[in-house]
């Protein structure tokens, strides 16, 4: 489904991505994790075409898409949910969902998508996607609009950022529904343990390199063990970090 070959990206003399090679199979739910500054978001943007790699190739369903524009990649079936959702003036939730679906979709479907991310459809459908919405509301609208696109490959850049706990439960459901309904592949950039828990595979990036890849148990246990040898892992923080 997706293959990244020798992806390199350097800015200000800093190697953000250093020869990244990855193969991702169809239908998988992949979580890319790693410390801040490890190159996760840059990698996601390179797959969508928002950022252009210095070297390397992006192969999607056997086709080299390295030089295709963002919209060309979107038309081939790649979707992207932004970490910081973009605000508009005058464009409504209804508009953005229709644009995402690339057709006039039924009210029932819009309602389902909004309710799926914990938003009351009646209250939000005609709201403008602008600064009057909170960060959490914008984020949920972003996720609803991207999930309705039903892409073959959907990339979520830190979907949990800015989302409250209640919506977070919805978010997990959205991912599960997407897997069931669209049978697509998802790549999630995330630090959240509950998202890591539902991953088929976890990829760990560090200093621009893939340092580990495997199932949750293989990767997570290893990471925690390594950081906290024989210490109790409490609330996501090592005792020695405190």
């Amino acid at each position: 489904m997706l293959e990244l070959k020798n992806i390199c990206f350097t800015r200000d003399n800093k190697k953000i991505l250093d020869d990244v090679n990855l193969k991702i199979d169809t239908g998988k739910f992949i979580v890319i994790t790693g410390p801040n500054g490890s190159g996760k978001s840059t990698l996601a943007k390179i797959i969508m075409g928002i950022t252009k790699q210095d070297q390397g190739q992006v192969i999607f369903n056997g086709k080299d898409i390295s030089n295709l524009s963002i919209d060309e990649r979107a038309k081939l079936g790649i979707g992207f949910a932004f970490q910081q959702p973009v605000k508009f003036k005058g464009i409504t939730v209804h508009d953005i969902i229709n644009l995402s679906a690339n057709k006039e979709i039924s009210k029932k479907e819009i309602h389902k998508a909004l309710a799926g991310v914990g938003l009351c459809p009646k209250e939000y459908i005609d709201r403008e996607v602008n600064a009057s919405l909170s960060g959490g509301e914008l984020k949920r609208i972003e996720i609803a609009s991207v999930s309705i696109k039903k892409s073959k490959l959907t990339i979520f850049d830190e979907p949990e950022a800015g989302i409250d706990l209640w919506s977070f439960n919805n978010l997990i459901e959205v991912f599960e529904n997407m897997r069931e309904e669209t049978k697509g592949t998802s790549i999630i950039i995330s630090h959240q343990e509950r998202i890591l828990n539902i991953a088929d595979e976890i990829i760990v990036l560090k200093k621009g390199k893939v340092v580990r890849r495997g199932t949750r148990d293989e990767v997570l246990f290893n990471v925690i063990e390594k950081r906290c040898p024989r210490r109790l892992y409490k609330g996501g923080k090592c005792e020695q970090d405190r």
């Binding site: 969508m48 928002i50 524009s69 963002i70 919209d71 979107a74 038309k75 979707g79 992207f80 932004f82 973009v86 508009f88 003036k89 005058g90 464009i91 409504t92 508009d95 953005i96 644009l99 995402s100 690339n102 609009s145 696109k149």
Partner: protein, 305 residues
């Protein structure tokens, strides 16, 4: 009325077939059709071109259409329309002017509209201006709106000028007494070598008077726009002026705010933002499969909606 007239009326006033309510249709400087109702009277002025519109007190939910169309070459049409709105009336007034110019000579319409709202009256005033035709002659529109609101009255004004008008100078004045509200929403799009200038001059003369001015404009190609707002807070009052412009190509936009607080209780805000379409907005829509051009069109369509 011929096909062009009917199409223009549809574009500027959404008139398509039979009109319900009172109306006065003016074509090429002359009245061509008029109807009055029990509550709304329309009378031709005797001293100058134009009409007086009288709405009886407590009239509720009626609509008055006063569209103007110009298809004659070289015509400069100046018209003075005065609206007298009785106490506690609540009506909608649909105005607007459409110029169809297939010639080389200039066509011009200057509509001077004065509104006098008695206590507790409310008016929704919608005005759409368009210019079209294959001729090289300029299509010029210079609307003037003067509003006087007595205690408790309110007026919502929507003005739209999307392409086609070569030159326009729009003056809107307001004199507001106590407990009044004047809301103005303006949408302008210019292209080619067009020029559009807007001047708002609102005096808040009564306690709890308020005004909200929202101007959204798009200037493309070599067109230029000017936005001037002068707000005078003379009593305990509130004003919010927001000028947002998208600029493209070699266009120019100038915004000149003037807010004058003449009372310690006057709360006046002016916001102005001029800039090109944000790159992140284009990228977002491109991730949905729109080309850069389509994304730009959607952003502008939404902005001017």
């Amino acid at each position: 009325m011929n096909k062009i007239d009917k199409e223009l009326l549809n574009k500027i006033a959404d008139i398509n077939g039979k009109i319900t309510g009172a109306y006065n249709i003016r074509k090429d400087g002359k009245k061509i059709e008029r109807r009055t109702t029990e509550n709304i009277d329309i009378v031709t002025k005797e001293d100058k071109p134009g009409i007086d519109i009288f709405v009886k007190s407590n009239t509720k939910g009626e609509i008055v259409y006063i569209p103007v169309i110009i298809t004659e070459k070289g015509l400069v049409d100046i018209v003075y329309n005065d609206f007298y709105i009785g106490k506690n009336a609540d009506v909608t007034i649909i105005a607007g002017c459409g110029i169809h110019n297939d010639h080389a000579e200039r066509s011009q319409h200057d509509g001077i509209h004065r509104f006098f709202l008695e206590e507790g009256a409310h008016v929704k005033y919608v005005e759409k201006h368009i210019g079209e035709g294959k001729g090289t002659g300029e299509k010029v529109l210079n609307p003037v709106t003067e509003v006087t609101l007595k205690r408790g009255a309110s007026l919502e004004m929507e003005t739209v000028q999307i392409k086609g008008v070569d030159s326009s100078i729009r003056k809107t004045k307001g004199k507001l007494y106590a407990d009044t509200n004047f809301v103005i929403t303006e949408k302008i799009m210019t292209h080619g070598n067009q020029f559009a200038k807007t001047i708002f001059d609102v005096k808040l003369n009564g306690d709890n008077a308020s005004t909200h001015v929202t101007s959204r404009s798009v200037a493309t190609e070599k067109s230029s726009q000017e936005f001037i707002s002068k707000i005078y807070g003379n009593k305990k009052c509130f004003a919010h002026v927001e000028c947002d412009a998208i600029i493209k190509d070699e266009a120019k936009v100038k915004a000149i705010p003037a807010i004058n607080a003449n009372n310690v209780e006057a709360n006046l805000i002016h916001e102005a933002a001029i800039g090109k379409i944000a790159g992140e907005q284009l990228i977002k829509l491109m991730t949905l499969g729109l080309s850069e051009k389509e994304a730009e069109e959607q952003i502008i369509k939404g902005f001017l909606k």
